[in-house]
């Protein structure tokens, strides 16, 4: 199971919406061995493509070194699919090189509802896992809503939970 703060998911979805129709990608770092995603790092998609993403090699070295210096590891590696379901493609599986990471996929194919699913990918084997959202700070969430970010997503749909669960995040006007 991936346990992650709602604010981080919102930031990831906002990044994916911003880069749509290109695929967006990034990392959430956390302390080594903690399995806790703490620090959201949006990355450049060096391919700037609607169907492919690749971390810029130079940026990746800087970010990986920074994580090393802070005793962190990539807890989550995320990217978006902009026209298809959020399920790892054969390309995703062949490139998956961080066996300890949660591979989070966001689909932005629906402009209203972001679909979010998380996977472990080890030795070419894909295993879906549930996503559990935790609310770190309701206060800061309200302030996000008040700011009226046009890229804010209205609702989320998670592929695996007890059943598919929709989280309504409509600003309360």
């Amino acid at each position: 199971m991936l346990t992650i703060q709602r604010e981080i998911i919102e930031a990831i979805v906002a990044h994916a919406r911003r880069d749509h129709p290109d695929e967006a990608c990034g990392v959430v770092a956390g302390p080594i061995g903690s399995d806790t995603a703490v620090r959201h790092i949006p990355m450049e998609n060096a391919e700037r493509s609607t169907t492919f993403y690749r971390f810029d090699a130079g940026e990746q070295l800087r970010v990986w070194r920074e994580m090393d210096d802070r005793d962190e590891e990539p807890v989550v590696i995320y990217h978006s699919h902009t026209a298809t379901e959020p399920f790892p493609s054969r390309t995703d599986v062949s490139y998956a090189g961080e066996p300890d990471a949660h591979y989070l996929l966001v689909s932005t194919r629906d402009p209203q509802t972001a679909e979010i699913r998380s996977f472990r990918i080890v030795d070419g084997q894909v295993t879906e896992e549930p996503v559990r959202l935790v609310d770190e700070s309701m206060q800061s969430m309200r302030s996000t809503e008040k700011s009226g970010d046009p890229h804010a997503v209205q609702s989320y749909m998670f592929g695996q939970s007890p059943t598919a669960v929709e989280y309504e995040c409509q600003p309360q006007n």
Binding site: E23, C25, M43, E47, S49, T50, T51, F52, Y53, R54, F55, A57, G58, Q60, L61, W64, E73, I77, H79, H81, T82, A83, T84, P88, S89, R90, T91, D92, V93, S94, Y95, A96, G97, E98, P99, D100
Partner: protein
């Protein structure tokens, strides 16, 4: 003196779990051959059967991506740090199609 080589998590099964190992050689190709003597199989995860650098990895000499330094011909010397990272890539496209379009 030797060349310090940083090994990513996914390849540490070849190095007995070590995060960093040392090797010798005047080029990246020579260094990887040297390392393969101590850590058999490691080289095969970095170099394709055709003899090119595998697209699934990034290798850096100090701060520079070796793709800008002549790839396997990149010069290395004692005191350098070579870092190996898994390339983070993927996407909705099929791999064969992506490789064709990207010319890799």
């Amino acid at each position: 003196m030797a060349i310090d080589v940083r090994i990513p998590t996914i390849l540490r099964s070849y190095t007995g779990g070590a995060k960093a190992v040392s090797g010798a050689g005047e080029t990246l190709a020579a260094l990887l051959s040297d390392l393969d003597g101590s850590y058999p199989g490691l080289r095969g995860r970095l170099i394709t059967p055709e003899g090119g650098l595998h697209r699934f990895v990034n290798i850096y000499v100090n701060d520079e991506d070796v793709r800008f330094l002549g790839s396997l011909d990149a010069k290395v010397s004692d005191g350098d740090t070579v870092t190996i990272l898994p390339a983070v890539a993927g996407g909705a496209f099929g791999l064969a199609a992506a490789a064709a379009v990207l010319g890799r």
